[in-house]
């Protein structure tokens, strides 16, 4: 029996540490395993016994790129458990800070981490010598997103201004007006970015994913909605465990998630876009069509285009929210703890981020569960790797290895969040 192993011992340009083992037996892919060996971080364990009010500051530390996702899912869960409803301008400000996170996270991934794959450069630094304007524009976009996070979150990394009920401090109109200037420039840069990435050479590959995302009656989803899928799931976020389960696998310190009845599913930009295309404003839909995308995109390599489109959307939405801003009477609603269970699910840049907390009467956390997007996507990443590698087994190992790394980066995986990153080995016999 002919067996070959292709191994990537440390995957670059992703967040966190992991590896890939690809085993080829008799001319076909026998297994593709994303090995995540970053140590578990035990956030769920050390949230137990902490006061509810500490939660946003603790969970923000899960990720330096997408702390807002963790903060938002946490405060929504707390508010649900304590019977608090945050609406109006406070809710709008939460969407606004989420816009900032999408812009900075997507800009980093699209330009600095993913684009070099398509243009044949080993990294963004080498790419910058040939595509300096694109890299400068990407950095300017990231800066605009960071500025929004700093304005609303107090600082761009691990923001400190989010609290259950609202915020510690409200932005002034003048501060938001100044941010709008920068966002108008960022919007134009994002439109240029869509056109730039849409012209990249994309591998001819499609996969019939079960897309899973939030869906809201009126909005492209950030903070609120039902969990829906392209194969009929339509549930309240509290019913997550009815349809989904997390499984331990030997080769990963991150749990794998699956639809109980079917298996792998996909969260993130492709899923959000497919399930919420009609919630995008006409301007973004038109831009998508001009970029060659219909309302559904099953080519994971084109996720880079969808991320760029989501940056345009986030800039437009941020500008709309700022234009409509009327400072509310209070920075936060009063929150009175009570015993209970609360759920939060919001759209991190990489996909849905689901939280469940159980509190005692004083608001102390009894149990916490956090399901980050990358752990949900792991089975789909492995399915993609097997399928993509399967179409190119006659190619040299280094060509297979490069394409596999690119395939993983399609997901913008945040290993640190899920381990919860990459080495690639191909076992060919």
């Amino acid at each position: 029996m002919a067996t070959k192993t292709i191994r990537v011992d440390y995957l670059a340009r992703v967040e966190g540490e992991g590896a890939l083992d690809l085993t080829i037996r008799d001319g076909r892919v026998a297994s593709a395993q994303l090995r995540i060996f970053e140590p578990p971080r035990f956030f769920e364990a050390f949230l137990r016994g902490r006061a509810y009010a500490e939660t946003p500051d603790i969970v923000a530390r899960i990720c330096g790129i997408c702390p807002i996702a963790y903060q938002m899912s946490a405060v929504h869960a707390i508010e649900q458990a304590f019977g608090v409803e945050v609406g109006g301008q406070l809710r709008a400000l939460r969407r606004l800070i989420y816009c900032g996170e999408w812009i900075e996270s997507h800009a980093l991934h699209v330009v600095m981490l993913h684009a070099p794959d398509f243009l044949g450069f080993p990294d963004a630094i080498q790419m910058a010598r040939a595509h300096g304007d694109a890299v400068r524009n990407g950095l300017a976009l990231k800066k605009a997103g960071n500025e929004l996070m700093r304005l609303l979150g107090g600082r761009e990394v691990h923001p400190v201004n989010v609290k259950p009920g609202g915020f510690h401090r409200l932005p002034t109109r003048a501060e938001l007006t100044a941010a709008a200037e920068s966002l108008r420039r960022a919007h134009d840069l994002a439109v240029d970015l869509v056109r730039w990435v849409a012209a990249f050479p994309f591998p001819d590959y499609q996969y019939d994913y079960e897309f899973v995302a939030l869906r809201h009656p009126d909005e492209y989803p950030f903070n609120e909605g039902r969990i829906v899928s392209s194969r009929g799931i339509d549930i309240d976020i509290a019913a997550f465990d009815d349809e989904f389960e997390e499984r331990h696998v030997a080769h990963s310190t991150a749990l794998h998630a699956a639809v109980k009845r079917r298996g792998a599913y996909l969260v993130g930009p492709l899923a959000r876009y497919a399930l919420n295309f009609d919630r995008l404003p006409p301007s973004v839909r038109e831009l998508a069509r001009a970029a060659g995308l219909g309302p559904l995109c099953r080519n994971p390599f084109q996720s880079i285009v969808v991320r760029a489109l989501e940056m345009v959307y986030a800039c437009e939405e941020a500008l709309r929210l700022i234009a409509d801003y009327e400072p509310p009477d209070a920075a936060a609603l009063p929150v009175e703890p009570r015993a209970g269970v609360g759920f939060g699910c919001t759209e991190a840049p990489r996909g849905i981020c689901w939280h469940r907390y159980e509190f005692d009467a004083e608001g102390t956390i009894r149990t916490a569960r956090i399901v980050p997007p990358t752990s949900q996507n792991q089975p789909s990443i492995e399915a993609d790797l097997a399928a993509v590698a399967g179409t190119m087994l006659d190619k040299p190992d280094d060509v297979i290895r490069d394409r596999c790394e690119q395939t993983i980066r399609n997901y913008d995986p945040c290993i640190s969040c899920s381990a919860h990153f990459l080495k690639l080995s191909v076992d060919r016999r």
Partner: protein, 169 residues
């Protein structure tokens, strides 16, 4: 940041590293030691991560002095001065970064984009222990006053040389 665009004395001191990870805290410790002692025209920034942001931090500056921890090599607390002239840090200079984008990458990217100041000097202090939640080792903590003194002297030297270049121009 103090100083106007084009002011020849604009020097930035960038203190890098995560103070909650043992000897990676050298940057923050040196920043505290420098508090209030930098001359006019010099500014201080402390970054515990997100080093892409350095490109914004040093925009408009003539020179940058970076303080960072270096990987263990058997002599904790040992100080090395690196004058980055060619756009890259020496290959054997493994500055510590928990993420893929560290100081070496920020410097290389800035040079590729034409966004690097004319002078970049790195003071790298060799660390020994970088565990989360750990304090700095005694050897690295003991190096803080000397690093601060050398950085102050470097800032004054860079300001003088920038002023001289400006006068020549």
């Amino acid at each position: 940041m103090s100083g106007e665009q084009g002011d020849p004395r604009r020097v930035l001191v960038a203190c890098l590293g995560n103070p909650d990870r043992g000897d990676d805290g050298i940057g923050a410790a040196v920043a505290r030691a420098l508090g209030g002692r930098l001359p006019d025209g010099a500014a201080l920034v402390v970054r515990r991560g997100g080093l892409l942001g350095l490109l914004d931090d040093w925009a408009g500056c003539d020179a940058v002095v970076c303080v960072d921890a270096a990987a263990p090599g058997g002599a904790p607390g040992a100080l090395r001065r690196i004058d980055v002239v060619a756009g890259t840090l020496p290959a054997d200079m493994a500055l510590t970064s928990g993420h893929a984008f560290g100081l070496a990458e920020a410097v290389a990217l800035a040079h590729a984009l034409g966004l690097a100041p004319a002078a970049i000097v790195v003071y790298a202090v060799e660390g020994a222990y970088f565990a989360e939640g750990a304090a700095m080792t005694a050897e690295v903590a003991a190096a803080v006053p000397e690093v601060a003194r050398r950085v102050l002297a470097e800032v004054r030297r860079l300001q003088r040389s920038a002023a001289a270049l400006s006068a020549e121009a």
